[in-house]
């Protein structure tokens, strides 16, 4: 499958890879170059492969509230939040963004890899609401970086200063109606822009308009290193149907004062592992699946590993026993060798 912007990626000489059935840009100028540019200036991402569903009707609120572990009762119109969506077992179906447009209209953004699964799950558990899969008719671009606000302000009429993190507004960009949310997956300030997928020319218009801010197109490679530095989970690597939010650093998204699918299992869970950050002190890059050893015993597994272009270090996430503390040493098996690593927070990067 291809997004509306496939031809733009080709014309920018992107290296195209298959991502869960989508032909997506892995990189354009290079992963490190794109990564650094998002931290320093601004980058444009095609994230139209992500799933987007609307849930509408008088029962929309109750349906969504039941589906997610986070609490949408405090969510006003035009606000959003991040939340896992769990099975009865407490395992994670997906981690999603929920926007409340109004009490009878919610917009959900889900992982590309989980589109069909999520739609089935949501339909099954919100039978009284009206669910529509708008993924193919709506394009989604992310504009991320310290100059994202200044750059986007030149393209839209709405005052973006009024848009706080996780807010969403109706606006228009180059004359096309759109939704703009102040969200992203990079650890930087930034926006996601939803508009009619037939308006592919908006990609070029954004690139041109933001050229004075040194905008660059950013592929999935840098998207992964950016989110890793920012401590953001990747479904399928760090979290999955066998992981609960309490094992991942997502306890803050679980609200036991409300009802949700999986609540009982999660409340009663004895946590036997937790996901932490690590930094390899010297040597190679860890990859998903590498073993973690503590006192020569296999005690966990790497879920994500890469090179941090910001800190120029080998970093990642891994599961370890829950009693492990920050700064404790572990060993990671890469190939047939062991490399010393130090446990640290999953949030390697916090923007100033």
């Amino acid at each position: 499958m291809k997004t509306s912007f496939y031809e733009m990626h080709k014309s920018l000489n992107a290296k195209i890879v298959d991502f869960h059935g989508w032909e997506m840009p892995l990189q354009y100028s290079g992963i490190i170059d794109e990564h650094v540019n998002v931290r320093k200036n601004v980058g444009l991402f095609d994230v139209s492969h992500m799933g987007r569903f609307t849930i509408k009707g008088p029962n929309a609120y109750e349906s969504v509230q039941k589906l997610v572990t986070n609490d949408i009762s405090k969510l006003g119109d035009s606000h959003g939040l991040y939340s896992p969506m769990c099975y009865e077992t407490g395992g994670i179906v997906d981690d999603i963004i929920v926007f409340r447009i109004n009490r009878e209209y919610f917009l959900l953004v889900v992982n590309a890899s989980n589109r069909e699964k999520d739609l089935g799950w949501i339909v099954l558990h919100s039978q009284l609401a009206n669910i529509e899969n708008i993924s193919d008719k709506i394009a989604l671009l992310a504009l991320q970086g310290p100059f994202a606000r200044e750059a986007l302000q030149r393209m839209v009429e709405s005052n973006l200063d009024l848009l706080k993190p996780f807010d969403i507004i109706t606006s228009n960009i180059f004359g096309t109606e759109c939704l703009i949310s102040r969200t992203g997956y990079t650890g930087e300030d930034g926006f996601e822009i939803f508009f009619d997928s037939s308006k592919a020319e908006i990609w070029d218009k954004i690139m041109q308009s933001a050229s004075r801010f040194n905008i660059k197109a950013v592929g999935l490679g840098a998207r992964d290193t950016l989110r890793l530095e920012a401590g953001l989970m990747l479904y399928g690597s760090d979290i999955d149907e066998n992981t609960t939010p309490l094992e991942a650093p997502l306890k803050w998204t679980v609200k036991f004062e409300k009802e949700f699918i999986g609540k009982k299992a999660i409340m009663n869970q004895k946590v036997t592992r937790k996901l932490v950050g690590f930094e390899i002190l010297e040597g190679r890059i860890a990859r998903h699946g590498n073993k973690v050893l503590i006192n020569e015993l296999v005690s966990g597994v790497v879920t994500s590993g890469s090179f941090s272009p910001t800190f120029k270090k080998s970093i990642g996430f891994c599961f370890v026993p829950p009693q492990m503390l920050q700064d404790q040493l572990i060993e990671i098996e890469i190939g047939d060798k062991l490399y010393k690593a130090k446990i640290c927070s999953t949030r390697f990067y916090k923007r100033a």
Binding site: L26, G30, G221, G283, R284, I285, F307
Partner: protein, 124 residues
């Protein structure tokens, strides 16, 4: 480069300089790998048979074995790469050389692909 360069099917290159084979990876290979962020080189004195793994290159997305295209003993390594793995991207045939090998069978060099053969091999 005045000397003759040869290539392996695994995208290593070799030139013979003062009786030693200087080994690195091709420009095509470094482009395929993308940003290289860590390199593990063999130790001086290590001996390899042709096409044994002698080094490992980590790019951001993947780890790749580097094969020894010519049997022999490692007599020198490019220690600069440990600090500057990006040299392999920036200058695969000059700054980015990896090891020097004392070849045990120079015929193996003669059997490697010429520049023209390699270019047609990678579909250039």
């Amino acid at each position: 480069m005045a000397e003759e360069i040869r290539f392996s099917k695994e995208h290593e290159w070799a030139v013979i300089r003062e009786g030693l084979a200087v080994i690195g990876i091709s420009d095509f290979a470094q482009k395929q790998l993308g940003d290289i962020v860590s390199i593990e080189l063999p130790k001086i004195g290590n001996k390899f048979k042709q096409m044994q793994t002698m080094a490992i290159v980590d790019s951001i997305k993947a780890s790749s074995d580097i094969f020894c295209p010519i049997s022999g003993e490692i007599v020198e390594i490019n220690e600069g790469l440990l600090e500057h793995p990006e040299w392999v991207n920036q200058s695969p045939y000059e700054l980015g050389w990896m090891v020097k090998i004392k070849p045990s069978n120079i015929k193996e060099f003669d059997n490697m692909m010429t520049k023209e053969q390699y270019e047609s091999f990678i579909g250039k």
